[in-house]
């Protein structure tokens, strides 16, 4: 919106180089957790949030698909099995754009440490696995700012599946890639689709400079690794007390 009441350029205006994420100039920090379902990334993201908050940092957590605006329509489309890979991809991009502008950009501008459980890379991996053109997908998300750090929780598909099973969460149709006709069996399809996603993540890890976390360690060891990677990003970063005194 070229609205006089908001002098900050909108993401749409910030798109300088379609096909890649621009570098960020916001006062906050953006830390992203990526990996397969059952890789343990969400647990680690929450532990990091707690740790940061306990140390006085203004931290904000957000996860994929939390946007009110289009979540219902995605559910509706999924239910009816109406979505092709292109519509699926665009619908998720819309959802992400809405989430980005509502829940990621404002805290970044306000100087928060924003922790994202899944970011654009989830879309890169999933849409590429479904056969969408990677450059096309990448351009869809050109409005998003690049993270200061992206953790990739790498784990064998079988291990992730075991954890998923232990969580007793039902595997959903699209999550299992059932739309791709990999197998008529839900579990078999899930395993094969997760394998495709893992391959995409492994490629992205190189091209996007992820910090790979070998995720088959205990929770404490993983969190130590996460914290020690985050610590250098916080140099000179204001804590709650400082901000309170400064305002």
């Amino acid at each position: 919106m070229p609205a006089p009441r908001d002098p900050v350029p909108t993401p749409a205006r910030l798109v300088q180089s379609p096909g890649g994420l621009r570098s960020s100039h916001y006062p906050g920090r953006l830390i992203v957790f990526e990996g397969l379902d059952g890789s343990g990334k969400s647990t680690q993201a929450h532990l990091l949030l707690k740790w940061l908050s306990s140390r006085g940092y203004r931290a904000f957590f957000t996860e994929w698909n939390s946007s009110d605006l289009v979540a219902s329509i995605i559910r509706r489309g999924k239910k009816k099995n109406l979505l092709t890979p292109t519509t699926f991809s665009l619908l998720h991009a819309t959802d992400f754009a809405d989430r980005f502008e509502r829940h990621i950009l404002p805290p970044l501008r306000a100087g928060y440490v924003v922790i994202c459980d899944r970011y654009v890379y989830t879309a890169y991996a999933r849409d590429a696995a479904r056969g969408c053109d990677p450059d096309w997908v990448r351009n869809l998300y050109a409005f998003a700012v690049p993270p200061d750090k992206t953790f990739y929780f790498r784990v064998p598909v079988e291990a992730a599946h075991k954890r998923k099973e232990a969580s007793r969460l039902r595997i959903k149709y699209y999550e299992a890639g059932m739309d791709m006709n990999l197998s008529h069996d839900l579990t078999e399809s899930y395993l094969r689709f997760q394998g495709l996603l893992k391959r995409q993540y492994d490629v992205l890890a190189r091209t996007e400079g992820f910090q790979i976390i070998e995720a088959e360690q205990d929770i404490e060891a993983l969190q130590r690794e996460v914290r020690s990677a985050v610590r250098p990003l916080l140099g000179g970063f204001p804590k709650e007390e400082v901000l309170v005194h400064g305002t």
Copy 2:
């Protein structure tokens, strides 16, 4: 979908050159009507449909925003004034992708003459007027096939507005570009926004090779111009009788 049951590549797979529309290899024909609201394009599109049908051609009409999947969410988002230009753009691209795959591609594959009242160029014009990066927008729509013919009904903003007023259709918030803070007055905002759209269309007419129709003529003269431009596209094109006999 790389589904074995559908050997035809999906639009997502067809994206060869992000940033531009590919050339079409479908048996049907795609004819697009573009222009401002009140330019008379819809009337002409319907007259062409009637004419083609009466001559035995299998013709199919579709208009922007007719998709069930996301129309409701667009209305919801518009109502709440929740949409930024990026989300607005992505949401319409999703809507269009759904409409394209459901209502445009199947009849094109089946050898119909598909008549579109508005196509990707409406998005190009509108999103560019709202400040979105034109290359980014163009890439969003890279899944769409290029029309065999695009008519641009060119008309001064004032003339289009008069026709719109005569139709007694209420001008809506986004249609008037009220989100852009061009003016607090709805009509004034509408006129200024339509002016921005017209400027975009005039540029697109050159870059996209539109056939310009000076739309301030009477209905019959306009339809003669449309038909004589469509006629050459129908050479060797099967009529209903032929198809019926052939199947």
